[in-house]
């Protein structure tokens, strides 16, 4: 009887939650958002192949001509097929934010985890450095970058990534500190496991739901900011198709009474951003719930 397992202790069959199950837990709105994002990603990858027409070539005589048989959404201000331009513009509109998110999540995670692990002066140094960086609003830094390096998607994306990093690092540092203080981490330290392997195999995987939620929410922000920069003429350069550029190009149509061209690009941005916001928010709620 000494060390035998007590008879009535039962083990509920709780499996580790797969990403699919996590997605299902975000509810109908979450799943719908994920589907919308998947479609947008598909268009970004294959958009140019799907386009019925060239996104670059057009005839000025078709300027702001409404939908006709072969042209589902009609033409833009320069007489180019609107649908083709929207499909072609998906790529830059999504790849830019993706770059921003990847860079700032990577940098933010490394800074947050290392600061939480070392604590003390290193943490104080990183934290106050981030506070200073916090003084640059993303768009302002992007404009500055455009002035220095010339307008373009690369400079704008890098500038936004730098501006977002302190925000990401701050949120993740809190999570990393919480995880760091878990007793299993101390137990592994006592076992003699290296800091690097504890961070890589335990800390970061446990922060992953939060990291993914953060990345999703940030994607929406990055998309809006990058489109704004392109709208200002400092991001993607015409005649390349981009949803932000398209709004700027076709703003004159709005005043002239033909808003479809500008609106269509605007609606594309709003739909994708709404999808990222909702999914991100739901994932965040799930990540918080899992902590309890």
């Amino acid at each position: 009887m000494s060390t035998a397992a007590p008879p009535v202790e039962a083990v509920a069959a709780v499996e580790r939650r797969s990403w699919l199950a996590l997605l299902r837990a975000t509810g109908a709105a979450g799943v719908a958002s994920a589907v919308a994002i998947a479609i947008a990603a598909f268009v970004a990858a294959f958009g140019p192949l799907l386009a019925p027409d060239s996104p670059y070539l057009g005839q000025l005589s078709s300027s702001y001509v409404g939908p006709t048989g072969g042209h589902l959404l009609g033409f833009d201000g320069q007489g180019r097929d609107l649908l083709s331009r929207l499909l072609g513009g998906a790529r830059t509109s999504l790849v830019g934010p993706l770059t921003v998110v990847v860079i700032c999540i990577l940098a933010g995670t490394v800074l947050a985890v290392s600061a939480a692990w070392k604590r003390g002066t290193y943490d104080a140094f990183v934290s106050s450095g981030l506070d200073v960086l916090f003084a640059f609003p993303g768009i302002l830094l992007a404009i500055l970058a455009a002035a220095v390096f010339g307008a373009g998607l690369v400079a704008a994306s890098l500038a936004l990534a730098v501006a977002y990093t302190p925000y990401v690092a701050r949120v993740l540092r809190g999570a990393a500190l919480r995880e760091r203080s878990q007793q299993y981490v101390a137990a592994l330290e006592v076992q003699g496991a290296s800091a690097f392997s504890i961070c890589l195999r335990h800390l970061i995987p446990n922060m992953l739901p939060l990291i993914v939620a953060q990345a999703t929410i940030l994607f929406g922000y990055a998309m809006v900011d990058l489109a704004a920069i392109s709208f200002l003429g400092l991001g993607v350069q015409p005649p390349n198709p981009d949803w932000g550029v398209m709004i700027a190009e076709n703003q004159s149509g709005v005043v002239q009474g033909y808003p479809l061209a500008a609106l269509a690009a605007g609606i594309c941005i709003v739909i994708v951003v709404v999808a990222f916001n909702i999914l991100g928010e739901r994932l965040y709620d799930q990540a918080q719930a899992e902590r309890r």
Binding site: S128, D131, V132, F134, A135, F136, P137, G138, I139, L140, I143, L144, A146, A147, V148, F149, A151, R170, G174, G220, V224, A227, A228, F231, L232, G233, L234, G244, I247, A248, Q251, V254, V255, G257, P259, A262, L263, G266, I269, V270, V273, V274, N277, I278
Partner: protein
């Protein structure tokens, strides 16, 4: 912290001159070919033959005295150019901030305190409007209120107080709309969260009437996170204003910054960036002060996590 941040940001803004490809003269002239005496003027103005740190120090001293240099494109003092445009931007940001604080917090409180139809509709509407970029909002507003209904102008700054308000209404709404939605959502969530706190339960167990409970324990405590989010969003307007100014053809600092960046008018870019960063930092400091007043656990200077 305020001083440190400003020193570092001014340093970054100044040294951007050297980060750029090409020599400082090329950057300052924006690639224009200048006569020899103009180059001399620039060299003297920026002390380009002195060590880097000296250059920065002299530049900073000039800035402190309101001397931001000369616009290479307009051949005018940058400070004069800034002064003539700062009013529009300030009015726009203030107007939008007011909308955010009054309507955003108001909606959030209403939704947080009452479950049911109002709550659900605020949630749904703000989920979408939080995702509407200011320039998309701008074209929709122009379409609806200037082109279709012709209630508001689509362009220009307007004259006098009433004219300014009239001309700035659409831009302010466009600027405020997504921040307003975010503030409303966070306000709602904060109110709900405070309702669930243990100390609120203590107050219930002591027979404190509902209205007093809400006022003294729920709203008073929710004011802390609401202040944080309001501060962040209002500060961010300072930069986004550039987009709205462009969309509505307003003659503000942001729009000028963008055209300066496009024409590589470097002194102007530096000057305006510095002004905007300073404004941004000052707003953040004000929020920190307010935060320390609202939360006795926070002493001034230790930023709330």
């Amino acid at each position: 912290m305020l001083v440190a941040t400003l020193v570092v940001s001014s340093f970054v803004i100044f040294s951007a001159l050297y980060l750029a490809p090409g020599n400082p003269i090329a950057v300052l002239s924006g690639g224009r070919t200048l006569p020899a005496e103009s180059i001399k003027v620039l060299e003297a103005r920026y002390h380009l033959n002195d060590p880097f740190i000296t250059q920065y120090w002299l530049w900073l001293k000039g800035v402190a005295h309101g001397d931001f240099g000369i616009s290479i494109a307009l051949r005018e003092n940058v400070s004069t150019l800034i002064a003539s445009r700062i009013g529009t931007t300030a009015a726009l940001v203030l107007y939008a901030s007011l909308l955010i604080l009054v309507i955003g917090i108001g909606l959030g409180l209403a939704a947080g305190l009452r479950r049911g139809f109002l709550d659900t509709s605020v949630l749904a509407v703000t989920a979408v409007s939080a995702a509407i970029p200011s320039f998309v909002a701008a074209i929709v507003l122009i379409l609806l209120f200037s082109v279709k209904l012709t209630l508001f102008p689509s362009l220009g700054d307007g004259q006098g107080l009433f004219g300014t308000i009239y001309h700035l209404t659409l831009p302010a709404v466009a600027l405020a709309i997504s921040s307003l939605a975010i503030v409303a959502r966070v306000t709602r969530a904060s109110v709900r969260e405070e309702f669930g706190r243990e100390h609120v339960q203590t107050a219930v167990s002591r027979g404190i009437p509902y209205r007093q409970l809400v006022r003294r324990h729920v709203l008073r405590n929710a004011a802390i996170p609401i202040t944080t989010i309001s501060g962040i969003t209002v500060a961010s307007l300072i930069a986004i204003a550039a987009v709205v100014e462009r969309a509505f053809g307003l003659n503000g600092l942001g729009a000028y910054l963008v055209s300066a960046a496009n024409s590589k008018d470097f002194a102007v870019v530096q000057g305006i960036s510095l002004v905007l960063v300073t404004a941004f930092v000052v707003v953040n400091v004000l929020v920190d002060v307010l935060y320390a007043i609202l939360d006795p656990r926070v002493s001034l200077g230790s930023r709330a996590q």
